[in-house]
């Protein structure tokens, strides 16, 4: 399109060329956008990517895709996935963010969110050196259908779908001079990305990491933490084994980390732990120094379930009180808006147009007219959603 003055501008031409891919694609920009846009005019209503990804599944920025290049066991029930993203993936994410990943199982795509464990602009290690990659770590949950599938059986070479990195649980650049990480279980994953980033930048300030796990065998990234502890004078790893010593008591912080009040703190782990930490920090009057990531939803079994009607899609689903409305919609084949799937990003917000819905985190009831997050809400009796 010509510029406003009526003249002709290179930028205007470029925008005109890129227009079809901008409106058709979900991913970020790629260096080839002008070319793809020009080609889109002959492949309309498709994008050239729709043809190209028949040749190579990664040649598409219409949907972000990736190929699993390595599955590395971390512990008995967790694994790191190294993924080579396709076109349009933004490698300049902030350490601590998570991505959405879609895995095909029996003809259906299942979506989950996992924290990235690699630093931004990572170029791989060992066997994958020199390639632009990302990694996530997944811990198999006892009733987690997809996490179990990923940890126990996803083969290398599998094509996955990706959603762009997001989330506000991030390490600033430069990092603060005094840092405390409080993690438990798979809550270590976003912190791993932060530690690796500081290590890669050669800028590891005074960092104390208190990590809880049941036994030494359950510690994800144990060797790496030990190695980092030995190599970086500023980094101290404090491992707390709950199998022997029980839950880490926050009162012990004063001995483990006497200056915790002065530190910028990032905490990630099970909900009760985070609630406790929040209270503790608030009581000390330093709530603003604390960053928490709630990646696990505590499910109250108080919602009684019912028939959920998805008004626009014209579909219904029978659900129990522990199934989220997002899961209910997706299992009924409704294209639900979604983001983090953990109640923090607000992408999945829709309006309740009938009945009652209960927030699984706090048991609060919502009624018709309320906008709710489908990923953390369940039906409290029959309800209708405007989606």
């Amino acid at each position: 399109m010509a510029s406003k003055s009526g003249g002709f501008s290179v930028r205007g031409l470029r925008e005109w060329l890129e227009a079809p891919v901008a409106e058709g694609g979900n991913a970020g920009r790629t260096p080839l956008d002008a070319l793809r846009g020009a080609a889109a005019r002959i492949t309309t209503p498709l994008l050239p990517d729709d043809y190209l990804h028949l040749v190579n599944p990664l040649w598409s920025a219409r949907e972000l895709r990736g190929r699993i290049v390595e599955v590395r066991k971390e512990t008995a029930d967790s694994a790191t996935l190294v993924i080579k993203p396709g076109w349009g993936f933004d490698f300049k994410f902030a350490p601590g963010q998570y991505i959405g990943i879609g895995v095909l199982v029996e003809g259906r795509w299942h979506w989950r969110s996992y924290s990235l464990t690699c630093p931004p602009d990572w170029t791989g290690d060992a066997t994958n050196k020199g390639r632009r990659l990302i990694s996530i770590a997944v811990k198999a949950m006892p009733e987690g259908f997809l996490s179990s599938h990923i940890v126990s059986g996803v083969p290398e070479g599998t094509i996955v779908r990706l959603a762009a990195p997001q989330g506000g649980f991030v390490l600033p650049d430069p990092a603060p001079s005094k840092v405390l990480f409080l993690t438990a279980g798979s809550g270590i994953t976003p912190v791993m990305a932060m530690l690796r980033t500081m290590d890669r930048r050669d800028a590891v300030p005074d960092v104390l990491h208190v990590h809880s796990a049941r036994t030494p065998d359950d510690v994800m990234f144990g060797d790496e933490l030990r190695e980092l502890h030995d190599r970086r004078p500023g980094f101290t790893a404090h491992l707390h084994l709950t199998g022997e010593n029980g839950k880490f008591a926050l009162a012990d912080l004063d001995t483990v980390c006497p200056d915790w009040r002065e530190r910028e703190t990032w905490a990630c782990g099970p909900l009760p732990m985070l609630d406790e930490i929040e209270k503790h920090w608030a009581a000390a009057g330093i709530g603003d120094r604390l960053h928490v990531e709630r990646f696990e939803i505590e499910r109250n079994a108080t919602a009684e379930g019912g028939t959920v009607t998805f008004a626009k899609a014209g579909r219904t689903a029978e659900v129990d009180g522990a199934t989220t409305l997002l899961q209910a919609g997706e299992s009924a084949g409704v294209q639900m808006p979604f983001g983090c799937r953990m109640g923090i990003c607000q992408t999945c917000v829709v309006t309740v147009t009938g009945g009652h819905v209960r927030d699984l985190r706090n048991g609060k009831e919502h009624r018709a007219g309320d906008k709710i997050q489908t990923c953390i809400s369940a039906a409290a009796g029959d309800c209708t959603l405007e989606v």
Partner: protein, 490 residues
């Protein structure tokens, strides 16, 4: 006047229809529970095959100055467009593959290779047509507002050009559909139809969406691709136009064979009021028609050769319609319901006949909208398998008119016509299929009888004429004798 009470028409009781609905629900659930990798692979492969065919066709047309290349390229492109339109665009937009959760093969994101936009098509088709199937004045797909496809609609002089309009619609089917969908979208959105004044009525959002999409489609097939092939631009242009024409004719034929052969019944708004789920199913079964197709033809029709199954379960994956049809036929046998099907040629000729017949005003047509081939009503069975409720003797005799005013006819049927419905001894059911058979026989007999009466009347007339003639001759002879005698005596 079309079907106003589907229970009576079908010779089924409310509980029968309820049971039928539950059996259909079971068929649906069974398919839904068994969906998996095999189905996902089917649609992914179909998409890949379609893209490869299209790319191959477009590539071949670069050499389209050579005759073989033109023919091959046009054929490839035609097939690619047909698959894209029928098996992909239509079915994906129906949400048949939404269960996969694949954002690229989903009804909310799919855009098809047609002049009309998928969004507008979905508004007109998935909602209006599939919800209000064959209900007069509610389903705009009944003749698409251009053709008079049932004598329930009033004849207008414009209908005289229907045979020509039909040809134009067939050749430009995608444009017909696109404009039809645009109008339906505007109506649903409450946007006024386009008028030159005030100009804002032209620049409405639906209009803009329409021209954006149509513009891209026209530019691609009629400007950019011909230009790309350079010196072969003229032959490429012809090839693209031909491929679009072939696709249009085929899509038109499939749609017309699915909705307008004899036996695809029409309904009134009275039927739609308080319609149960079971009755909705039944309306879809009686309102649609199949055509016989092997796997290849079924695939090329987007499995719409199974139009009945598609209308029962519009969002079940199309690759399952063949197995569903076996079960639906079993249900038709069980409930003695007709399953309207026939060869493609036969089904089209029936639709073709209706188009031409209904171009004529009603007084030139023999049958009424109660017993015509393209539309009928429960009155068709009056005095045959149902009471003659037009003041017939039967009614008076059985004092049924009062009863009928309070109850519905199917209950009456159960009570007073024990030969219909389920036979308690044999377990066999006599229903609509048998009733249609009897009505056909009765109509034939009636026609035969009328013919006989006519013949007799004619014979009587002829005889009368002969007698009169003989009389006259005799008279003339007598007159002759008289005059002769007179002359002689003069």
């Amino acid at each position: 006047m079309a079907i106003t009470d589907i229970k009576t028409f079908a010779h089924l009781s409310a509980s029968d229809i309820e049971a039928l609905g539950q059996e259909l629900d079971t068929i649906r659930r069974d398919v839904e529970h068994s969906l998996g990798e095999r189905d996902a692979r089917y649609i992914r492969r179909t998409i890949a095959a379609q893209r490869i065919l299209e790319a191959a066709g477009r590539a071949t047309l670069f050499a389209s100055k050579k005759r073989w290349a033109w023919l091959t390229g046009t054929a490839l492109l035609s097939v690619a467009k047909i698959i894209e339109n029928m098996e992909l665009g239509h079915n994906v937009s129906h949400g048949q593959w939404d269960w996969m959760n694949d954002p690229e093969i989903h009804s909310t994101t799919w855009e098809w290779d047609m002049t009309g936009s998928s969004a507008q098509w979905k508004a007109a088709h998935n909602y209006s047509h599939h919800m209000y199937t064959n209900i007069l004045d509610m389903d705009d797909d009944l003749g698409f507002g251009i053709l008079r496809m049932t004598r329930d609609e009033e004849w207008k002089p414009i209908n005289l050009v229907q045979p020509a309009a039909n040809l134009v619609l067939a050749a430009l089917f995608e444009w017909g559909i696109a404009l039809h969908d645009l109008a339906a979208t505007k109506e649903q959105m409450g946007v006024p139809q386009s008028q030159l004044f005030p100009p804002r009525h032209i620049l409405t959002e639906p209009n803009k969406a329409f021209w954006r999409k149509a513009g891209k489609q026209v530019a691609k097939d009629f400007v950019i691709y011909p230009a790309l092939t350079g010196p072969a631009w003229k032959s490429t242009l012809k090839a693209n136009a031909t491929a679009n024409l072939v696709r249009n004719l085929w899509a038109y034929a499939v749609i017309f064979c699915g909705h307008f052969p004899d036996g695809a019944e029409k309904f009134t708004e009275e039927q739609f009021e308080n319609e149960t789920q079971g009755e909705w199913y039944l309306r879809q079964m009686l309102g649609s028609a199949n055509f016989d197709a092997g796997p290849a033809m079924a695939f090329m029709s987007g499995n719409l050769s199974y139009q009945i199954e598609h209308h029962l379960f519009p969002d079940l994956p199309s690759n399952r319609y063949a197995e569903v049809s076996v079960k639906v036929r079993e249900l038709c046998d069980k409930y003695d319901l007709p399953y309207t099907t026939g060869s493609l040629g036969k089904q089209y000729l029936l639709a073709f006949r209706t188009i031409h017949k209904l171009a004529l005003p009603d007084q030139w047509l023999k049958r009424t909208s109660d017993d015509a081939p393209e539309t009928s009503s429960e009155r068709k069975f009056a005095g045959i398998s149902l009471p003659a409720w037009n003041g017939g003797e039967w009614l008076a005799e059985h004092n049924a008119s009062e009863w009928l005013a309070e109850h519905n006819a199917s209950e009456w049927l159960a009570e007073h016509q024990p030969t219909w419905g389920l036979d308690p001894v044999t377990g066999e059911r006599r229903g609509l299929r048998s009733a249609l058979q009897e009505a056909k026989v009765a109509l034939k007999e009636k026609a035969e009888h009328e013919k006989q009466v006519l013949r007799e009347a004619k014979a009587a007339l002829r005889e009368k004429a002969l007698t009169e003639k003989a009389l006259l001759t005799e008279k003339a002879n007598r007159k002759g004798w008289f005059s002769r005698t007179l002359r002689r005596n003069l």
